[in-house]
């Protein structure tokens, strides 16, 4: 007789998850023997919606794909459209794009640090890192006027400028953050109870990471040398390059260390840009109708490589916008590394990839009494066209 399986469900609604996703962990006592994921609870039909709006309107839509990394989405879209239109944003605009992208990375990594600590039951670190995150949020607000959707991009450049006064404010904020970051580095590498929850937990070797296609800080913590900012620099990165941060350890601790080291790299590059900000215009003109063609635009989001596929048929509206967000690439690594660990480690392993749900829900699965039914792209497309008619 096969022993009865004891499945612990996490989600779609669960205190560990701030967004809906569904995970089933089969446990034997406290040991996890199998893990499955089911996504798709927050599918919002944005790709379909993008086909019904003009290129300029889509910029606002794409900013809202993700609440945490709104700038990189808009930037990836704008860079793709500029490539299709064969224009190039001026150097000052590109530099400002990079500054905001790096500020966004700082805010995202600090947010993640807090969430991951909370998953491990270390609420003090959670509260402290979120308090310090306010510094960078304030900086972003001072620059763009918004705390969340900064809306810095327009097609062909940026709409906000960074004055010398604002630059000084940013420098001061970074000084403060640098001190705090040193403290967090000390906590995550020296605190005994915290190390007990992170060291050698969620171990993923370089081979596994390559096989599972892990990207972003998750992959870099396992020694995967992959960072779009370095591999194929975009926006301001050719002039103001960043160093790639990796670690060989591959465990949760390494993921903490890699992300915190990336914070230092962001501080450095932001200071460098502010000191050598190119002068000039902020925008170039982009035609209303984008010439026919298709392109791929890749940027490095805080969670890893973000890929946009854009197809234009020469009209005011895109033919197809495809978004591939980094969280989607890292799910396999979670489900594989989960097996063999304790149930108590699951929230931290889940949080270790810095998951973001709403931006990776795609597929429509209909469930009726006869079983599961999956819609292919053609049928979805037909359904979408009918729905929006």
């Amino acid at each position: 007789m096969i022993p009865e399986k004891f499945v612990v469900p996490i989600g779609p609604q669960h205190p560990a998850l701030k967004e809906p996703g569904h995970f089933e962990f089969t446990v034997d006592g406290e040991i996890v023997t199998n893990a499955t994921a089911r996504l798709g609870f927050v599918h919002r039909g944005m790709e379909k919606g993008a086909e019904d709006r003009t290129w300029a309107q889509d910029l606002y839509l794409m900013e809202r794909v993700c609440g945490i990394c709104s700038h990189v989405h808009a930037m990836a879209f704008a860079l793709g459209v500029e490539k299709l239109a064969k224009v190039q944003a001026p150097p000052r605009a590109q530099a400002i794009r990079e500054v905001i992208a790096e500020l966004e990375r700082i805010h995202s990594h600090l947010l993640w640090l807090g969430v991951a600590a909370h998953e491990g039951g270390f609420d003090t670190l959670f509260m402290f890192s979120w308090r310090d995150r306010e510094i960078v949020m304030d900086l972003l607000e001072a620059i763009s006027g918004n705390r969340v959707n900064y809306s810095a991009n327009v097609l062909g450049g940026v709409k906000i400028d960074i004055s010398e006064k604002q630059a000084d404010e940013v420098r001061r904020g970074l000084d403060q953050l640098e001190v705090r970051t040193a403290h967090y580095m000390k906590v995550v590498t020296e605190d005994e109870t915290f190390l007990g929850r992170t060291r050698n937990i969620g171990l993923m070797s370089f081979e596994e990471a390559t096989l599972l296609g892990a990207i972003g800080p998750t992959g870099r913590a396992s020694g995967v040398l992959r960072d779009v900012r370095v591999d194929s620099p975009y926006a301001g990165y050719p002039e103001f390059p960043v160093k790639i941060i990796t670690s060989e350890a591959g465990d949760l601790e390494a993921r903490f260390v890699v992300r915190i080291n990336e914070l230092y790299e962001s501080y450095r590059v932001i200071r460098e840009i502010l000191d050598h900000m190119p002068a000039g215009d902020l925008t170039v003109r982009v035609p209303r109708r984008i010439p026919e063609g298709e392109t791929i635009s890749r940027v490095e989001a805080p969670r890893g490589e973000l890929l946009y596929f854009l197809k234009s048929n020469g009209s005011e509206k895109p033919e197809r916008v495809k978004v591939r967000t980094p969280s989607l690439c890292n799910w396999a690594s979670v489900l594989t590394t989960a097996v063999g660990h304790k149930l108590a480690d699951m929230p931290m392993i889940l949080a270790g990839i810095d998951p973001c749900f709403s931006c990776n829900d795609r597929m429509v699965v209909l469930q009726d009494r006869s079983g599961t039914q999956t819609w292919d792209w053609e049928r979805l497309r037909q359904y979408g066209i009918e729905y929006y008619k």
């Binding site: 612990v8 560990a16 609420d123 308090r131 929850r197 304790k342 929230p347």
Partner: protein, 317 residues
């Protein structure tokens, strides 16, 4: 302090019963506020625990399918009753306890364990998977801290030669405080109390990011309110015990207040200092480190007591 009250008042109003519930809520407030301040938060207002309590009382109580109904209703009552009964044996606010007899230390310790047993049963009673995992963890934790906690409190009792809490309380201050004489015991007792109350970092049985609310996931309304206030009462009783054993005892309310508040400050600091321990780490900590150290100290105490009459004449002549 020798204040003679009619038994009915002593049990129902002061210092037991109503007043004890009130001080339980006050201690919960202090604990929450302190932890919040340590974490750089504002923290609740002073009446928040009371408001929480009444809100829960007013809520509908859902009894899930597949549980034994009577057990589901009875367990929180038993848990609270056990905590309140335990309070009758300890010198609350420095007053002479109502139930004053030799051996009430053992009774108190057993009554204090009732809470965890009830929580474990409550979790196992429901069919919720989070509850079952939580119940397993709660009982596992019980088996890990219970022995060292017991030994830690027996240390002073052995030295003073009495198992009456009230007598220990009145004689503990006469010589060197036990916190200095038996530091290992003090630490074990304080951390054991934190394990008992499932405070962080020993909150694996109710780790919200893993198993929602652990064994009490299915509890809402009255049952949950009773469990919560029972835990508050246990916090007061536990702190009273440790303060009277290790901090030289107390004979008036003022002494009681500052000593327990000091202990609460220490536990609040410990709560905010560490990441949550996994259940296997908790068990490992207690059995590999805690129990062995407390045992060693315990053996030393007994050896000292048996050898002292033999050695003392040789030394002192």
């Amino acid at each position: 302090m020798n204040l003679t009250l009619p038994p009915i008042i002593a049990v129902l109003l002061f210092p037991g019963g109503l007043f004890l519930l009130g001080s339980g809520l006050f201690f919960e407030y202090l604990d929450r506020k302190l932890v919040a301040r340590f974490q750089n938060r504002i923290g609740p207002r002073w009446f928040q625990p009371l408001a929480d309590f009444f809100k829960l009382l007013a809520k509908e109580e859902v009894i899930p399918a597949g549980t034994i109904q009577s057990l589901f209703i009875l367990l929180p009552i038993v848990a609270l009753a056990a905590a309140l009964t335990a309070a009758m044996c300890v010198p609350l606010f420095g007053l002479k306890p109502f139930a004053n007899y030799n051996g009430n230390l053992v009774v108190t310790l057993y009554l204090l364990s009732m809470m965890t047993l009830c929580i474990g049963l409550a979790g196992a009673n429901t069919k919720d998977r989070f509850s079952i995992v939580g119940a397993t963890r709660a009982l596992t934790q019980l088996f890990s801290y219970e022995a060292p906690f017991l030994l830690a409190l027996l240390g002073p009792a052995i030295v003073l030669g009495t198992w009456n809490i009230s007598e220990i309380n009145s004689t503990a201050g006469q010589s060197m405080w036990f916190i200095l004489a038996q530091p290992i015991g003090f630490v074990a007792a304080l951390i054991g109390l934190m394990g008992k109350l499932e405070l962080p970092p020993f909150d694996a049985p109710e780790a919200e990011t893993e198993i929602v609310a652990g064994a009490l996931t299915e509890y809402s309304g009255r049952g949950f309110a009773l469990f919560r206030i029972g835990r508050d009462v246990e916090l007061v009783v536990g702190l009273t015990l440790i303060a009277s054993f290790y901090l030289g005892g107390f004979s008036n309310p003022l002494d009681f207040l500052w000593k327990t508040a000091l202990l609460l400050l220490v536990t609040a600091a410990l709560q905010s200092l560490f990441a949550r321990l996994r259940i296997d780490q908790t068990v490992g900590l207690w059995w590999r480190v805690g129990t062995i150290l407390v045992m060693a100290q315990f053996v030393l105490i007994i050896l000292g007591r048996t050898l002292a009459p033999v050695i003392a004449p040789l030394l002192g002549g």
